[in-house]
Symmetry: C2
Subunit: 81 residues, 2 copies
């Protein structure tokens, strides 16, 4: 049993109104020095068996087809620390 | 200018129907060895100035009050790699 983390974020060129709303709320609440907030998704995927290259490749394929919309999002797959 | 990452996940004892739906969809789509998927949020926070202890503490305070619902969620704050 192994755990893989998939981080999905909007591509940098895609506007993130949700993040902007959070940044505005943070400033209003008095948090200082906030320049930008971007919100994305984090998936923790638990898989059977060893965390070998094939398993990571399988999760990467899943990230590409199911977890991320690669038109507007980018993703990163890595073993959970 | 520095970037801090805040990961917010449901506490392990909290049911995650969204993650369950993703795991079911993944299995249906033929991804093998999927045991569990849990979905959380990832925030990238850009702050002015140096990434010193005070800045990280400020982001941690923001995570606690604005980004995470600490009744059902746990969070982790770390400098972006």
């Amino acid at each position: 049993m192994a755990r893989v983390v998939v981080d999905v974020m909007l591509k940098p060129e895609i506007l993130d109104p949700q993040g902007q709303a959070i940044a505005a709320a943070g400033s209003r609440l008095g948090f200082e020095g906030l320049k930008e907030v971007r919100q994305g998704k984090r998936f923790e995927v638990e898989i059977d068996g060893e965390l070998d290259d094939a398993a990571v490749a399988e999760v990467r394929r899943m990230a590409e087809t199911l977890l991320a919309n690669t038109v507007i999002e980018e993703f990163e797959v890595r073993p959970a620390s």
